[in-house]
Amino acid sequence: MAAPPLSHPSIPAPGGRSPWSFRMSGQSLAGAAPLGDAPSRFRLFPRRLGAARRFVAPVVLVLLWQLAAQAGLVSTRLLASPAAIATAAWQLIASGELAYHLAVSLRRVAIGLAIALGFAVPLGLLAGLSRLGEDLVDATLQMLRALPFLALVPLLILWLGIGEATKIALVALGAAFPIYLTLFGGIRGVDPKLLEAGRVFGLSRAGLIRHIVLPGALPQALVGLRYALGTAWLSLVVGEQINATAGIGYLVMDAREFLRTDIILVGLLVYALLGLGADQLVRFIEKAALAWRPSVLGER
């Protein structure tokens, strides 16, 4: 833990003169200073800590967890201690095992997502841009969407076996629908007045699509991408429980066999970090592609 900053009022300033003494002589009404800003007010966590203050509670929780584990209050068979998890993580990293399984998992998500984009974007464009396309595509996809895609696992296993194909197909299925739906909705949601203005200024149909429909649909489509990434991870977790021989899911399943709760928790942590990273990636894309939006400009 870092030492409290020097300006902390409970610590006398060098020279034996505490900040309190200033107030005594200079201020006639102690109550006149606004409470929230009064430097004399005792603070458990000084403002100086700023953003770091948000991490106080999680850090304390982890410390309590560690203490409870050491005191034998929590069975390490059921829940490994934070120190054990850190050790396990370090060993997995050092041996290169984590990197290997991570690469396998990432590859599944990347291929699955690419397939999802490859199907969902053309279908979304087709349905969004033409009534005929909507009639041909939308009803079918809406029906398929009503099916919980994870329930397709038995069928996928029969069709594709228990190898990589099933895992990738599951990721692709999970990610495709959010992309399709938001692209379709985004295209249909473009302000008709903007389209009319485009026509007045001489844009052809192709020009309208390129200059108005696609930029107009982009914000929603990116929300869809973000959502698709979330579903992709979820599908990955499920897919990797099916007879996997590599991947983060395999790491977790394998650890279960040996009651290694520390490795299981490392796996969960990796899943969480991957999800977080994917979200940040799309945020970054949004920030770059949607610089014109006031909400994005307002963010830092």
Binding site: D191, K193, L194, E196, A197, G198, R199, V200, F201, G202, L203, S204, G207, H211, I212, P215, G216, L218, L290, W292, R293, P294
Partner: protein, 253 residues
């Protein structure tokens, strides 16, 4: 300099299909706007004035009648017939300059029109805001940007669909003066839809007073006052009273 277009509106009637019933909005509209003439269409709100502009712009085809620009029938939109809408309808993902250059971009004349784009932006006083996005502009600035976007196309017929309707009254007064000056310099044919009588008589050579829906032309009033006009011009004030009386809104003496 580009001269104004001659607009002929011949026996135009139009109806909307509303739940399988035809809702007539325009009835036998017939007038000619001479090249360079400033015509105001004045009428109660919802009477179909804006619909008439949409027909002239080529966004819709009339149910009946003919629209001719310089003798040629209107079959679709054309950049030489440009509308400035009540809302600026700027493209939010384009900067002010990006919005202004949409027309030239669509026609593939961006390089040739580059000086005109800068000229239009400085004409409306937005040269220093060329890189701003629409959400960063005030209402008046957004309308100016929309005006610049229209002017870049060197319209021969500029349609103004209550372009100042949503502005605050001070901005509105300033922009009325700017529009008048602009028209005097460029001499395009102008078709202004408004429900502001003062605005109509201040800007137009001719005021067509429309009835309630379905709109018919119930008066064609010539505004023969010298320009630049003053709001307190006695002739304009008298005309204003006359038109208000036609609309059944005369101030009781």
């Amino acid at each position: 300099m580009v001269s104004g277009a001659r607009l002929e509106v011949r026996g135009v009637s139009h109806a909307f299909a509303l739940e399988k019933r035809a809702l007539p909005v325009l009835q036998d509209i017939d007038f000619v706007a001479q090249p360079g003439e400033f015509v105001a269409l004045l009428g109660p709100s919802g009477c179909g004035k804006s619909t008439l502009l949409r027909l002239v712009a080529g966004l819709e085809a009339p149910s009946e009648g003919r629209l001719l620009v310089d003798g040629a029938p209107v079959t679709g939109t054309d950049p030489s017939r440009t509308i400035m809408f009540q809302d600026p309808t700027l493209f939010p993902w384009r900067t002010v300059r990006g919005n202004a250059q949409l027309g030239p971009e669509a026609r593939g004349t961006l390089a040739a029109d580059a000086p005109r784009i800068e000229q239009a932006l400085s004409l409306v006083g937005l040269a220093s805001f060329a890189e701003a996005f629409p959400h960063q502009l005030s209402g008046g600035m957004a309308q100016r940007a929309a005006l610049a976007r229209a002017l870049v196309n060197q319209p021969r017929l500029l349609m103004l669909d209550e372009p100042l309707g949503k502005l605050d009254s001070l901005t509105r007064l300033a922009m009325q003066r700017e529009l008048a000056a602009l028209w005097e310099r460029e001499r395009f044919t102008a078709l202004l839809v408004t429900h502001d009588v003062e605005e109509a008589v201040l800007l137009a050579d001719r005021v067509l007073v429309l009835s309630d829906r379905p709109a018919r032309i119930c008066a064609d009033i010539r505004v023969d006052r010298p320009r630049p006009r003053r709001r307190d011009d006695a002739g304009l004030v008298a005309l204003r009273e006359e038109i208000l009386a036609l609309l059944g809104l005369a101030e009781a003496a």
